[in-house]
Symmetry: D2
Subunit: 367 residues, 4 copies
């Protein structure tokens, strides 16, 4: 079903921006895990709104309440883990106007057709970026499961409004670099890029406009042999998950679209034995994935985010009730650039998918 | 499971390049359909090898044999449709060498780890591009189901080896343009680009090398309201399907990666009522999809293909049996550029996914 | 996944008996439905504990809180509907004893092995009959969806402790009979059986023991052509759902096990045209299902419930911590017979499965 | 989807009785397995028609052809294993008559409604018992995977036409007893019952009639901790699979329907430590399953088969084309009792489901 993800772990997300709550159910977690809830909340805080002058003024604590899945010691008990995140600072008004005038670049019109006008229009309903909060919750758990197995997942803003962070060879990315990026207001490798990105965001905001950007995510230490051929390979599943984050318009791995203009001799990554006896490649155009299966090299994914569609500038749209063209100025609280808060969502999606695959690998040891 | 696709229709693909056969099972086809088998075979022929000087000399008729799913009149009968495509011109030799020396850019090494050395190495086994034949078969059926509902799916080579076909606004693409492209040796809109592309392919082939490219696919007439939110939206499912085609390294929709550098005011597509009373957008940066749900505008997807990894040039690799570095010159028959034959595979993937979604839309009329 | 049910609608259940809450997520409900919540709560009350001298003294209001899935008018909005039911009257003590001494006839030992001792032992954890509350919630919604399409689902206690309710030919069961049964303390057709059943339950309770029984469920007005061949037929899916209710040990349809001793000429139900032009059978040994597909005749299912395993009588068991045999007297609150409260759970399971199938039928009209 | 089974292994079955072939695809088999194909064929032969005077005279070799999934050494290679079984001795005639006059007790009428008259009527189409051949093939592979892990699955005819085989306590059933039963014309424990069963079958056949029976299946050595709570427990999944075998009308486990009349003190199986340190129960009313999870005791399932609906005696039916009542005498080749050939199908279903669960258990060791 549409709101579910995963083959071994299964995540089901529910909620709307202004419903009483959003949340998720995670089936298949191993029993006996004591998660570090402070670390979970710290991860959630990276996505939460109202933490920076760059994000929407809506403030939500976004502290998940675990309603099932733990035993009396607080360990996972084998039953599905369900978590709720309350929607507190929801301001829903003028529903009829929202229902009547679909916002350009938003799901309003498509949802109006699909659900026959019964869709929840308040705050974007189930299409709100707020739905990435339960994704981040699930990802935060998976990050911990991966960490004890030596796998680090992290991401950064590769570009915002055309301003680029430092280009780095994926074979040189370290967990420390990813941790440093995560600690910054905009998660970048090169702090000098941060100021220029902030400037572009502020300029757009002042103009009643918005900007987009590209997020680049890495998995370090992910072992070879994970992922399934054809439709459940590493790329297939990561892409399916990442397109679940609102505003993503493209996903690429390794050399990505640039590979289309390369020659095979330049794109192929030669295998070599390293001194430790491991097979590695010197270059990593293949982004740690061949035939949908991991090779042990860093997994590298980039996701393109469009500029936030909610802008203060007046735009053309239609009045669905009156059947005529209309003008719309989207008031309300929104991020002039969602990329800084999207970075943990991309990390979460990658962590969930890779954790699911690593778990599935256990079955192959059955022979 | 890994080899299956679809929520309403379900496609399961099986086979290896040099197994007795490849094939697929399609569950959920409506009963009572009389497919045009000549049209199916004509579509399959666009993908089949050995038809052009640009493709591998391996020759396969690729005429699917329907082993179940039809009644005595040749109509679909409600039971799963199973089709087999024989592997005839398979030349498998020197298995031990293939098993020992993983080809750079191929799944050999990853599969060797995953399957503990038991993977089928002959001709790439299940990772061969040959597995797109059953995908094309399923897509060919879906193209017919879509056509009777007014939906046209087609694709073209947007670029090969850096040579670009004509840039066209997606709102101006017509079924006739897609049919014309399909009839060409390399499916392009602008015939003058074809010659330059062919030249680049030939130059690379002469150098023992290979080139990549970008395929752009369109769905025209696809109605608003299809696709499911979150993880089963149009982009999620198309991306999951298209990354099942070997050599795809990136997927983008509409403005795609370019959207990341745009402002919201420039990227948002304003809604307007057309004279016929339909809601449309003048521009189509959103590629006919908002919130994962179709809007009725053309669906536009681009997929980046890496250069064929099998090249005649000698490359570095490892000897898995001897545990030491080695050199490899990939003999064998291969395409110096798989893009021309990948175009129908991308069309097939898009046709299957959109047909599945259109069928799922029926349930929403239940209210 | 294990906690999910359905192909078109999807129900995911979570919770443990003494976790903060139990609940469910339902994906795929049509948009625009205004459910009758009083009727939902009335249905839930039939299952809720503490309503009768025959059931456990634990008292729970069991009023579900809808946390997502409705728009501001209270209609379904197309997003997943999530509901929570708080666990209030939970008395969990002596966890170590519960963890040490598995109760005969309970999941304690099996769960201890499966989850490595991390299972939630409080009140039976996720194996508690309490988990049928979210099932009843989902079933209550489906009963309403079915009712507007002319389908009535109901059930009765066919026998308790060997005391039988009236034998009735399934072709003569009416919605009124099912409503009348639902209104009784023990849902039976023949009120005179009720007193004898109650007597047997009380006798067993006084002896510190428990009794079982058989529930018989009916679907009237369910149209022909629903259900899928092989593994998703009416029987397959109903059986899969009903075995999710704790204590079910057998499921049969129509003549059921008795069919094994019949001859074909006696078991086959002849088809006849009725005066209204409908094809019906005079007898209904086939229980409205042939080849897994509905025939339009009443669907008839019987589920056997074992006697409640929690009994006051002292029993043999093992001490898992000490590795030696032990004795156990299960204190705590429990039903001496769960059949009266299981009847709505069986109805709910049947309603959910048939509603899911009826919805799936929409896709077949696509031709 | 309807024709698929399994969470870790996935079986997809296709075909119709008179299509060119029937077959299946099995995803998820471990790589590197060398199956004993003679043993597979021997198992298939137990189900194959034409081997006994008691079965249909249709003769089919039923030797599966493996078209994919093996490497050049004949080992599983990780890719889906696809197998075809040709339909050779198919005699299809008088299609219009078959389409017009639905046979009582058969799926003809239900399928006619479901598929709008396009269903394959030849030999029962996809509803034929012949579709159990691919199930038996998959089961035969699973029996081998289970055997190397110390698990034996087998079954016997517990009763035919009311004639009962020896009642045996499930704790006393041995692999040798199951092997002996499998070698008999009718698989029973007590050879003296066989003659009486055969007599009843012959009497019914001479009268142009048919008889039913009950199959009892056992899994010995199946370890504790397998199966998932709620809807994927041992009973849920076995029931879902077994109702996929045509003519099954009821499924029960352990004490089954008889449990409904027992008291808790009599039905509960007390846990005890055995001399070898294992926890076992003395009695096995619970059939090796509590809370859907295996306990390590023998799994015991009984499935009731109705008498073969195809009988020579003339019966009432309807003419769908003329819209009036009609008479039908089912000519054609059929088994007067399908129970002997159904025994291996039940074994296969049990073997597949338990193998799938045992494989899934691997993931739980991930903690």
């Amino acid at each position: 079903m549409s709101n579910s993800l995963g083959n071994n772990l299964k995540l089901t997300i529910f909620g709307q921006s202004h419903a009483p709550a959003i949340g998720c159910v995670i089936e298949g977690l191993p029993a006996g895990i004591s998660f570090d809830w402070d670390a979970v909340n710290a991860f959630m805080a990276r996505r939460a709104p109202g933490r920076s002058a760059l994000s929407t003024p809506r403030r939500e604590a976004d502290v998940p309440e675990i309603v099932s899945g733990l035993n009396e010691r607080g360990e996972t008990c084998g039953a599905p883990l369900a978590a709720l995140i309350a929607n507190r600072d929801a301001r829903s008004d003028d529903y009829e106007r929202l229902r009547d005038l679909p916002r350009p670049g938003h799901a309003d019109y498509a949802a109006w057709v699909k659900y026959g006008g019964h869709n929840d229009v308040r705050g974007g309903g189930p299409f709100s970026g707020r739905l990435t909060a339960p994704l981040c919750f699930a990802g935060a758990l998976c990050l911990q499961l991966l960490a004890v197995r030596g796998v680090t997942v992290g991401a950064r803003a590769l570009s915002i409004a055309g301003v680029e962070d430092a280009r780095v060879d994926s074979t040189e990315v370290t967990p420390a670099m990813l941790r440093a990026a995560a600690s910054r207001e905009i998660p970048v490798f090169d702090e000098s890029a941060l100021g220029r990105m902030r400037l572009e965001i502020e300029k757009a905001a002042q103009a009643g406009d918005s900007v987009g950007g590209v997020v680049e995510a890495f998995a370090l230490g992910f072992p070879a042999g994970c992922g399934e051929p054809m439709f459940d390979g590493v790329e297939n599943q990561l892409a399916r998950a990442v397109f679940g984050i609102p505003a993503v318009r493209g996903v690429e791995f390794g050399a990505g679209f640039a590979a289309a203009a390369m020659r095979g001799s330049g794109h192929n990554d030669a295998f070599r034995f390293d001194a430790d006896g491991a097979v590695r490649t010197r270059t990593n155009h293949h982004a740690g994935v061949l035939g949908g299966i991991s090779t042990g090299m860093p997994v590298v994914m980039r996701a393109a985010f469009k500029p936030t569609p909610s802008i203060a500038l007046e735009q053309d749209t239609v009045s669905l009730s009156r059947g005529e063209n209309a003008r719309l100025s989207a008031a309300g609280r929104h991020d002039p650039c969602i990329v800084p808060r999207a970075v943990p969502a991309v990390e979460a999606a990658m962590a969930f998918v890779l954790c699911d695959m690593l778990m599935g690998r256990e079955k192959e040891k059955w022979t």
